[in-house]
C-alpha cells in the first residue's frame, strides 16, 4: 500500500514539470459530414470571474508559446519603445475605458500606454487561451487582440461572444515574413484552402494589447 502510494506520488512529481513542457500545435481540423443543424450545448453558468496576471511560474511555457500555432504573433518582434518589461503582477488598476475604435483608428497615439478596454470576444486561442480578440465598439469588422503570457491569464473558449474587460499596454509587433507564412499556411490548411507563400513579401505590423489583467463572465 505504502509502496504503491510512493510510486504514485513519485509519478505525480514527474508529471508536474512534464505538463509545463507541453508544446502547442494547431491540429488540422477533421471536417465532419455536411450538416445544416445541430443542438447547441447548454448555456454556461452566469457570474463573473476576475483574473489578474501574476509572476510566471512555468518557465517551460515560454518554449510552448513559441510553438503556439494559434499565436502567430508569439514570434513577432516588439517594435521600438514597446519592448519594455511589463509587470504582470499589477493586474487591473484603471477605471476609465478607452474605446477600442479609438485605439484602432490611431494606434500610434497609444503605443506604450496602459489602457482599459471592453468588448465582446469574437475569437479566442483554442489551445492555451493566451489571446482573445475584442470587437470594436464602432466597426463590426475590426477587433483588437489582447495577448497575455501563457498561464498568467487564461481566456476560456466559453467566453466567446461575451463582454470582456482587459487592461494592458498597447504595443506594436512586427511579424517576420517566415512566421507570417507559417501562420497563414496553417490557417489555410485548417480551412481547407490553398495558400501561396510567395504572396507574403513583407513583414506585417500588428497592434495589440499586452494584457495585464482581464475580467470576463464565467
Amino acid at each position: 500500500m505504502n509502496f504503491a502510494t510512493t510510486l504514485l506520488t513519485m509519478g505525480a512529481l514527474l508529471c508536474l514539470p512534464a505538463a509545463g513542457l507541453a508544446q502547442t500545435q494547431d491540429p488540422t481540423p477533421q471536417p465532419k459530414p455536411v450538416a445544416q443543424k445541430e443542438t447547441p450545448p447548454a448555456p454556461a453558468q452566469q457570474g463573473e470571474r476576475v483574473q489578474q496576471g501574476e509572476k510566471a511560474k512555468d518557465k517551460a511555457g515560454e518554449k510552448a508559446k513559441d510553438d503556439c500555432a494559434n499565436c502567430p504573433d508569439a514570434k513577432a518582434v516588439p517594435a521600438g519603445a514597446t519592448a519594455k518589461a511589463v509587470d504582470l503582477a499589477k493586474g487591473m488598476k484603471l477605471k476609465d475605458f478607452t474605446p477600442i475604435s479609438d485605439i484602432l483608428a490611431a494606434p500610434e497615439k497609444f503605443e506604450g500606454k496602459r489602457v482599459l478596454v471592453k468588448g465582446p470576444a469574437v475569437a479566442v486561442c483554442e489551445k492555451r487561451g493566451c489571446w482573445i480578440n475584442l470587437k470594436s465598439d464602432k466597426d463590426a469588422s475590426k477587433a483588437l487582440r489582447v495577448k497575455v503570457e501563457d498561464g498568467e491569464i487564461v481566456f476560456p473558449m466559453t467566453v466567446m461572444g461575451k463582454e470582456v474587460q482587459a487592461e494592458g499596454v498597447v504595443e506594436k509587433l512586427v511579424i517576420p515574413v517566415e512566421t507570417l507564412r507559417e501562420a497563414l499556411k496553417k490557417s489555410a490548411e485548417a480551412k481547407g484552402e490553398t495558400f501561396d507563400p510567395a504572396s507574403v513579401k513583407e513583414p506585417r505590423v500588428v497592434w495589440q494589447l499586452k494584457g495585464l489583467g482581464a475580467k470576463f463572465p464565467k
Binding site: L14, R128, A140
Partner: protein, 187 residues
C-alpha cells in the same frame, strides 16, 4: 504516542498524508497526461466542427441583425445570438452560447464550431494549471510540499534488504536517473 521511534512517525505521516493526497494525485496525474499531448488534441474542450451550405446570402457592405436573423433562419436555428463579427468582406460570424457560426455569404458555405468543456479534464486542468489563482495557489503549494513529504518518508518505511539500504536504494537511484538522462539527452 510517546516512545515511538522516527520510523513509526514516518509510517504514520506517510499513511495519512498519502490518503489526503490521493484525490489531488489523481487530478494532477490525469491532467498532466492530458496537457502533455496538447499538440495532438485540445485537453480542455471538445470542439465539433461541422460544415454545411445554405446557399448564397444577399448582403450589404456591413453585417447587421437582419442578416444574422436571415442566416439563422436558413439554418433553422432560433434568432438569439451574443454578437456578430465580420472577419472579411463577404463573411459573417455569428457567436452564440458556445457555438460559433462562420458564413461565407457569397457562396453560402457555413462552418459551425460547437465548444463543449470536457467533463472531467476541464476542471482537472483548471486546478492543475492553476487558472484559479488566488487561494488555490497556496493549496497547490501545500500539495507540492505534501508530495515531497511522501517521497522522503516513503524511502524510509522499510528496513533491511527491501529498504533504502538495499533494493530501495537502487530503485530510488533509477528514479533520479530517468530525469537526469533526459536532461543530458536534451540539454
Amino acid at each position: 504516542m510517546a516512545g515511538h521511534n522516527w520510523r513509526w512517525w514516518f509510517h504514520a505521516i506517510h499513511r495519512d498524508v498519502g490518503y489526503l493526497c490521493v484525490g489531488l494525485v489523481l487530478i494532477y496525474s490525469v491532467s498532466g497526461i492530458a496537457v502533455n499531448h496538447v499538440a495532438d488534441w485540445n485537453p480542455n474542450y471538445a470542439i465539433a466542427k461541422v460544415n454545411g451550405n445554405i446557399g448564397a446570402v444577399a448582403h450589404g457592405a456591413e453585417v447587421d441583425d437582419a442578416l444574422a436573423r436571415a442566416v439563422l433562419g436558413r439554418l433553422d436555428l432560433s434568432p438569439e445570438y451574443l454578437t456578430l463579427f465580420q472577419p472579411g468582406p463577404h463573411q459573417l460570424r455569428i457567436v452564440r452560447e458556445n457555438h460559433t457560426i462562420d458564413v461565407q455569404l457569397d457562396t453560402g458555405a457555413v462552418r459551425h464550431e460547437i465548444v463543449t468543456p470536457r467533463p472531467i479534464l476541464h476542471p482537472a486542468n483548471y486546478l492543475h494549471l492553476n487558472h484559479a489563482k488566488q487561494i488555490w495557489t497556496w493549496v497547490a503549494d501545500a500539495f507540492a510540499v505534501a508530495l515531497i513529504v511522501l517521497a522522503i518518508t516513503g524511502m524510509f518505511l522499510l528496513r533491511g534488504k527491501q529498504g533504502i539500504t538495499g533494493r530501495g536504494l537502487w530503485l530510488t537511484a533509477a528514479g533520479f536517473a530517468v530525469p537526469l538522462f533526459f536532461l543530458w539527452l536534451y540539454l
